[in-house]
Amino acid sequence: MSLRYMIPASKFKRYLPKDYVELVDYGPFGKKYSEVGVKNMGAYKELVEEHPMCSGCWMAYYIKIIFASLPNPENTVTIGTAGCGRLAISQAAVPFVYGNYGDQNAMASGMTRAFRLRFPDIQKDVITIAGDGGMMDIGFSMTMHAWFRREKFTTIMLDNETYGNTGGQESGMSMEGAVLKMSPKGKNFGKLPAMQLAITAGCVYVVKMSPTNINKASKAIRRAIFAARNLGPTFIHAYTSCNIEYSIPTPDVFADAKEKEKGRFAFEEYMTPEAKELFAQIESKTKREVS
């Protein structure tokens, strides 16, 4: 029913908002990835268009990549928390649950299990998308325990190395020495080892990256969603700079992301043998389906 439920009766169509009708007619719902996806962005009605993010926001760009990469947007629910990210995520044409502070992975645990009860034969993809503060500080125990419990959903951390939405305070993912609000003398410890924590906690597929290449970024997101369906929790740790709090001039945002890619956000990909086998199966079947 998932696809049919959004298609209006023809006589009713003219009364619906233009945006809705365009999403039904020209959106990615029910289409093959090769027809839509990141490669065709701009040529179809995207799930995220307008958003209130700052000029040059690298997070907004990455959120557009996330939504353009969804294998099955008509059966996807996203969950997020307070932060800049949800300002754009909540404007996507996909159901979005905004819970309380940092509780996204606990909510997703309940939701994923409940979906499996109600729809044993339909794959419902649950994805949590939250910032470094939401995932690794206030939501830390809920993030970690969802992984330990092997909950089958995808976790995406938008790491801008600060609390951007509340005005630039130190976060657990800020660099050692960074002078931010609440660290007026410089942060006195380094970034939390999010990737290692995810691997230790049992994630079956983990990527750390600075998403400068949209195809590579999309491939990681899709792999994470496919692996989460049957194998276990998956985690993507993406660099999504805050050009305001780190004073990165808008024209230099991409260069900054390239620079981070050479340093602490160098591409790293971890997968279990089962995940590797799964990707080999999916990607050999139809190469375009994943990459």
């Binding site: 959004m6 629910v77 909540s90 404007q91 819970g99 606990a106 909510m107 409940a114 009860l117 325990h145």
Partner: protein, 389 residues
């Protein structure tokens, strides 16, 4: 469910299904109610003294009465997972107490606003410090202002009946907010009492998410929610408006629950000896002691009335006003130091000067009937040994 249950509506389950007498604890009574409620999913976290409820519910899950169950990492994780699962359209139960309730409170108080239908057991316990694990219902005071429906059970039988009724009330189209069923830790949860229960082959009809007034976020229920929708960002003005109308609707929903409290529980209050001048008014375990005091008074030939308050939210203001219309004094015994029930009553009646603030016990003390009797003698203008001493 493979247990071959007879699924029935709540009226039949509560009022018509044949019952047999059992001698069980309050914790068992709550779990037995959950067993008959066709619960899809329960999420547990251990806390003293109530832990027995959620591990008994775990046993019920293992027996096949519940489809999904797990122990969460902590209370906030539990309550958040309930909120997540509710979005997927399943019937839910959890229980907590005291510090655990406060730890989960950020999520719990957002349930009504998120229109999360579920049943929350509150097996009351002291809130620290100093450390104590004894019964004391002060935590209920923190729950009064969130919009949830709150029932307060006097004994094991109430715990069973209220918990079952709660599953029906929470899913009503014109309610659809969580229902909390509270009772006192230890005094009720760990003590045995007689409970008349229907056979476990009877169970409440299963939840139908397509009947919900707020569609599940399962991408299955029309109208589709693919419209870009982030009202808070539109403008501050829109934000004020949306929040205010939404909150009004939650409290209206809370008030609309009252008719179901009449339907399933025979009303929000029970009154004995309505023509008395002096009343004892109490809820929960204190009502059991108040009932005893009422019996003592009767034996002594004194005319004393009893008002048991079953529903704390919606609070039965009108019913209490009517019951106390001609009263000269109302004694309110409570298991907490602040006297939240006395405050509620005072704000409901015109002549709040008739309220006797107490007796109150807290920190886990028992509530001796003699304490209530002393207040009765004082209210009736009689001299007592205590006063003479």
């Amino acid at each position: 469910m493979s247990l071959n249950k007879t699924l029935v509506d709540m009226d039949y389950l509560l009022n018509e299904a044949p019952r047999e007498k059992h001698f069980i604890t309050g914790a068992q009574a709550m779990a037995e109610a959950v067993k008959r409620a066709s619960v899809d999913m329960a999420i547990a976290y251990p806390i003293t003294p109530q832990s027995e409820v959620m591990h008994l519910v775990g046993d019920i899950y293992a027996q096949g009465h519940i489809k999904e169950y797990y122990r969460a990492e902590e209370e906030l994780g539990t309550m958040s997972a309930i909120a997540g699962a509710a979005r997927a359209g399943v019937r839910l139960f959890t229980a907590t107490s005291g510090p655990g309730l406060l730890r989960g409170l950020e999520a719990i108080v957002s349930w009504p606003g998120h229109r999360v239908p579920c049943v929350l057991g509150i097996l009351t316990r002291v809130v620290n410090a100093p450390l104590s694990i004894q019964p004391d219902n002060i935590e209920m005071a923190y729950m009064l202002h969130c919009g949830a429906v709150m029932l307060h059970a006097e004994n094991q039988q109430d715990t069973f009946d209220y918990t079952l009724a709660a599953f029906a009330i929470t899913e009503k189209v014109d309610v659809y907010i969580p229902v909390a069923v509270a009772t006192e830790g230890f005094f009720v949860t760990h003590a045995k009492g007689y409970v008349n229960m229907m056979d476990e082959k009877y169970a409440y009809k299963e939840v139908d998410p397509y009947e919900a007034p707020v569609p599940a976020m399962d991408n299955e229920v029309p109208p589709a929610r693919i419209q870009r929708d982030a009202p808070v960002q539109k403008s501050n003005f829109m934000s004020y408006l949306i929040h205010s109308v939404w909150q009004q609707e939650i409290w209206d929903s809370n008030r609309r629950a009252m008719k179901y409290i009449y339907q399933y529980l025979g009303g929000p209050i029970e009154v004995i000896n309505p023509d008395a001048d002096v009343f004892i008014l109490a809820s929960g375990c204190a009502a059991a002691q108040a009932r005893e005091a009422n019996r003592y008074a009767e034996e002594e030939g004194l005319s004393v009335g009893l008002i048991k308050v079953k529903a704390i939210r919606p609070f039965p203001k009108q019913e209490i006003r009517d019951a106390l219309k001609n009263a000269k004094s109302v004694i309110i015994p409570e298991h907490n130091i602040i006297g939240w029930l006395a405050s509620e009553v005072k704000s409901s009646i015109d002549n709040s000067g008739i309220v006797v603030d107490g007796p109150r016990v807290y920190g886990g003390m028992t509530l001796p009937v003699e304490l209530i009797m002393t207040e009765i003698y004082t209210a009736l203008g009689m001299e007592t040994e205590t006063l003479q001493a």
